[in-house]
């Protein structure tokens, strides 16, 4: 009994073909029709309740989600074709990327060292000899600071 009733419900829901009803009696067909009417009433009532509550229609929402997923998949495929850097990064193995990265770093370092403003000269001065007939001579230098230049002072004692 429950088997026939369940089949009638499945026919009403569309899970079974309507040919199944032909093998049933008139009572079962009436019952299936009643289930179909009830299902329609329930769906209609549920749709009205959802619309009143501001809940979007599930069928429409699912169609929108499917469209969005397809669009994103298409955009990703296009980006992989047009983005050379992304494509290179994703397709090249490490043994290609590592030397390329090292080369880029070396070029950048060389550029910084060679073009980064005026290089500070080394003003280290080695005073090998000095001589004067009069006055005082003293050498002022800081061996620890090559940027500071050496000053060879020649001071006339009379001037102080």
């Amino acid at each position: 009994m429950f088997g026939r009733k369940r089949d009638a419900m499945r026919v009403a829901d569309g899970d079974l073909p309507r040919d199944v009803l032909d093998a049933m009696g008139p009572a079962d067909r009436d019952e299936a029709a009643a289930f179909a009417d009830l299902s329609a009433v329930v769906r209609s009532a549920e749709a009205a309740r959802s619309q009143a509550a501001g809940i979007p229609d599930f069928e429409m929402m699912f169609a929108g989600v499917e469209a969005r997923v397809a669009a994103e998949r298409r955009e990703a495929a296009e980006a992989a074709q047009t983005g050379w850097l992304a494509g290179m990064v994703h397709s090249r193995p490490l043994w290609v990327l590592a030397p390329a990265g090292a080369m880029i770093m070396a070029v950048a370092l060389g550029w910084v060292l060679t073009s980064g403003g005026e290089a500070r000269p080394d003003n280290t001065c080695f005073v090998d000899s000095y001589d004067a007939d009069k006055g005082s001579i003293f050498v002022d230098q800081d061996p620890d600071d090559p940027a500071q230049a050496t000053v060879i002072w020649v001071v006339d004692e009379e001037e102080g």
Binding site: N123, Y130, V151
Partner: protein
């Protein structure tokens, strides 16, 4: 045995030829003349008082500040001479007190590539070695309420 004797003169000749080739290749390098250098002599009148920096001294400002500190505040240029010279050729300037200042580039040291510079100023002489592009000062003579500071820079000619 005979073959060994026959080859011996050839081997000696080959060694001699090799030695001559090596000597020919290295001799011009070792006997090459020292390169030219650009010697710049700048005569500066340094004073205390209101801060002043001659525009020509802008590139040298960091060196002046680090070298003389608070000793002077005003730097004016009296004379500036720069010449590309061979070793032994002096670069002369006349100081405002009438004394001739002469800086002579005398070549490059073979070991470290330092530039030899001799300075003659009246009865004062000194010999120094500096790095390529380096600068040193001679200072101390009084003039016009200030002190004469002579900057000497030597830079090797790269051409």
């Amino acid at each position: 045995m005979q073959c060994g004797r026959a080859r011996e003169p050839r081997t000696v000749l080959a060694w001699m030829a090799g030695a001559l080739i090596i000597a020919g290749l290295t001799a011009p390098v070792s006997a090459a003349a020292d390169p030219k250098a650009t010697v710049s002599v700048t005569v500066i009148l340094a004073k205390k008082g209101p801060p002043h920096l001659h525009p020509a001294l802008q590139p040298m400002w960091d060196t002046l500040r680090q070298t003389f500190g608070e000793k002077f505040a005003s730097y004016d240029v009296h004379d500036q001479t720069s010449r590309k010279v061979d070793p032994g050729t002096p670069v002369d300037v006349m100081l405002p007190n009438g004394v001739k200042f002469s800086a002579t580039y005398s070549g490059v040291t073979p070991d470290k590539g330092l530039l030899r510079v001799n300075v003659d100023m009246g009865d004062f002489q000194t010999k120094v070695r500096i790095h390529d592009g380096g600068v040193f000062f001679q200072a101390g003579q009084k003039h016009d309420g200030g002190t004469l500071v002579v900057a000497v820079r030597a830079t090797l000619d790269k051409n």
